[in-house]
Symmetry: C2
Subunit: 461 residues, 2 copies
């Protein structure tokens, strides 16, 4: 008890203790994740092919499954110092409220203007683009978190930033759009008349509000049409998961300082970059047989990629212009319901996490959004932080696990990732506060419709 | 240089190093601020009279000009641990961008859901109300920062919270309203039909969007109409400035750890609580003749309380139901233009700061809002944080002072208060980004109209 009391509410690493390397979990895997496939040839993508779309150094990172540690360049470390280390928070108030013997910690990634962990990879991708002598980058954004993060990174490095924002979000979420513009990004509602794919879609569906798939296709085309531009992506890819390992590296360093060993590690999972980053050094120990942790991925019941998807090759984008990845997927044509956790509405899952899940190194649960918002409000009231709907998926399951401890009397240590804040999600909170939010679980028929669009790839046979 | 390089980007006090006392600067003053006057009798308010409206312990703090240090109760210290210590940031990137020999530091108070320093006093006021056995508190809010902070504090302590929100903000700023509701506060657009004063105003001006003065009057009436309720206020009062001294105490402790002595301390000034809190221990040293610091209050040119106001007794509210304070004021009837720094649109100034300014212990400058937003964007791009318009007034003057150092070659140390984030101010940024923001400086005639409404008080004669 005296030891426990000596643990502060928030553990901040000193600047000198901040990790200087990313953790590449693929180096520890015996079963490596399957390679990306060329969407035309269905053969493994070569570095040369990838370099047409992505920055060179990022291609190396994408393909590297051998080096456990990868040095973080000094310029990126300096940027990290602006908003990191992120605090590892002991949730004393939540524990008290739940009256649980469990010890709950969360790694809070929301203390920066992008409002989430996305900035960890945005600065890395922007840095490598700048370093390669590029003029700018293009990307897509849905609700706007990734676009905001990339805008910030590009502003810092004086790199041009072009964001294709799903039109319905562009119109309904003017605040995030304006944050991006404040950071100097050019924000275009998608579909637009600036690309061929955009013009085609506008012709076919004049009144469409757009989709993430369409925005990706436009961003990829815009990059290939401009000299000195490349396309960058905020999740799903292994390079993104690598950059996000800064979350797990800091978390582990902070826990180690106090001799704390987690029993359960929980993260929300959309494309997988946050969860993959949080668990990286822990699952590495698990893969090497040095430690055992329960690792839980939490996904929305409305988009149950891991819990109800298939582990096969699929397109990463709905436009089918990006490489194929072997992953848990609901099919690139699966249409999730209008859930309020926009960041978790992705049909697939990072290929490394998919392999880890297939091999039994992690569990997955799905939760419904009204239960998630109820947990979010409970958390906000006692811990002070108003969480993003995405992050609140992890809160919900952390609370569930803590309440199980209350029943059994076990003093388990639970660590979860709190990826961001909900300041730009107040319309969703309003729906919940007014009691007009509903849940949606896809039927078997819904899933079959998504699966019907899966590509036939020999490697899956 | 080597010493300088050892200073991290962010200085966080350890939890064990966090201040356990507030600093009451009035104890150091030879010329004490003038007492509050009863609006009916124009005689100094007694503790008994103040207790009708305010919580008992807070009345003691309001009247205490003798004790330099006041212990912070453990429950408040525990709450502070949830979101404090706030970082003292070395603005390395801004210095580099400005190419200045000046060393710039800022104390960042935006890392909490209320988005500003307001939470420091909200938890204190809610705690004393709870401790007194009250059921709830009432307050007013304009843009919503204070209301949000109070909602958070009340949710934590399970105290009822009733917020009268200026109707035009209630309608145009639904996000902050929804944050308050998420924390369980009852938010009423003002004027409303729930109070006599509200009904009267609605009758006289059926389509009115409300005003802060009206909301104050409604909140005061609501408190007096309900058993077990008191009214609380987010700025202007000495008790609020006392609670905000946690900002200055932490800042001084962090600077002392590295042997840093500021030359210039800068803060934005609306009602004065942030500035008063930041400078408290420093101006204490100055008052005692131990150290000398340049202290600069920054106010908007559209509401130039210190730079163009009169130092006389005036009503604290436009409804004239609150006590009178001797302060720099533009007159309680002065109508500031629709500036985008809602938190700085107050006609008066905390009486302690007013006395310090009158006695020459601090300077004041006024700045125009387009220059403020330009500074805000420059800051956001290099330091990552998107600042509140209010806070950006201090940024503007800090940059100005740093550029003077560039001219003279002086390596001055500048410390400024960054009170909060601008996430809920994106409509204002949009105006600036689109080039449609204008400046407004009141004419001499505008000022004379405000002064014409000043009460005639013998103490001023």
């Amino acid at each position: 008890m005296s030891k426990q009391q000596s643990i502060p509410y928030k553990i901040y690493l000193k600047e000198s203790e901040m990790p200087k390397q990313w953790y590449n979990v693929r180096a520890d895997m015996v079963n490596k994740p399957a390679p990306l496939l060329n969407p035309q040839t269905l053969q493994p993508m070569t570095a040369e092919e990838l370099k047409v779309v992505f920055c060179e150094e990022l291609v190396q990172q994408e393909l590297n499954d051998a080096d456990r540690y990868i040095d973080i360049p000094q310029e990126i470390l300096d940027f990290y110092k602006m908003y990191r280390p992120a605090p590892l928070v002991r949730a004393y108030c939540l524990e008290k409220k739940l009256d649980t013997p469990a010890k709950i910690y969360y790694k809070f990634e929301g203390n920066n203007t992008s409002g989430s962990h996305k900035l960890n990879s945005a600065i890395a991708q922007a840095y490598y683009a700048k370093n390669q002598g590029l003029k700018g980058v293009t990307t897509e954004t849905g609700a706007g978190q990734w676009g905001t993060a990339l805008s910030m990174a590009c502003a810092y490095l004086e790199l041009d930033c072009q964001v294709y924002m799903v039109k319905v979000s562009y119109e309904q979420k003017p605040f995030r759009r304006e944050v991006m513009r404040t950071y100097g990004a050019k924000v275009t509602p998608s579909p637009s008349d600036t690309t061929e794919v955009g013009r085609k879609i506008l012709e076919a569906f004049p009144g469409t509000g757009g989709s993430l798939g369409c925005a990706i296709s436009e961003a990829v085309e815009a990059a290939s049409n401009q000299e000195g531009y490349r396309y960058v992506l905020g999740s799903v890819l292994n390079q993104v998961m690598l950059h996000q390992s800064i979350i797990g590296m800091e978390t582990k360093a902070a826990l180690d300082q106090y001799g704390i060993v987690p029993d359960i590690i929980i993260g929300c999972a959309g494309g997988g970059s946050n969860l993959g980053g949080l668990i990286a050094p822990f699952v590495g120990e698990k893969l090497r047989g040095e430690k055992d942790y329960r690792i839980i991925a939490v996904e929305p019941a409305s988009c149950p990629t891991l819990t109800r998807g298939k582990y096969v090759y699929d397109y990463c984008d709905t436009g089918m212009v990006c490489p194929l990845a072997k992953m848990y997927t609901l099919g690139s044509g699966f249409i999730p319901s209008a859930s309020h956790a926009g960041g978790l509405r992705y049909h697939g899952m990072n290929s490394t996490l998919s392999q880890l899940y297939a091999d039994g190194y992690m569990e997955a649960v799905s939760v419904e959004q009204t239960a998630v918002f109820a947990a979010a409000k409970e958390f906000a009231k006692v811990e002070g932080i108003l969480p993003a709907p995405e992050s609140s998926h992890a809160i919900k399951v952390a609370i569930d696990e803590a309440l199980k401890c209350k029943e059994t009397g076990e003093e388990k240590t639970i660590v979860f990732g709190l990826t961001g804040t909900g300041y730009f999600d107040m319309m969703s909170y309003e729906k919940f506060n007014n009691g007009v939010m509903s849940d949606y679980i896809p039927t078997e028929e819904d899933l079959q419709r998504g699966f019907a669009g899966l590509p036939k790839v020999e490697a899956d046979m």
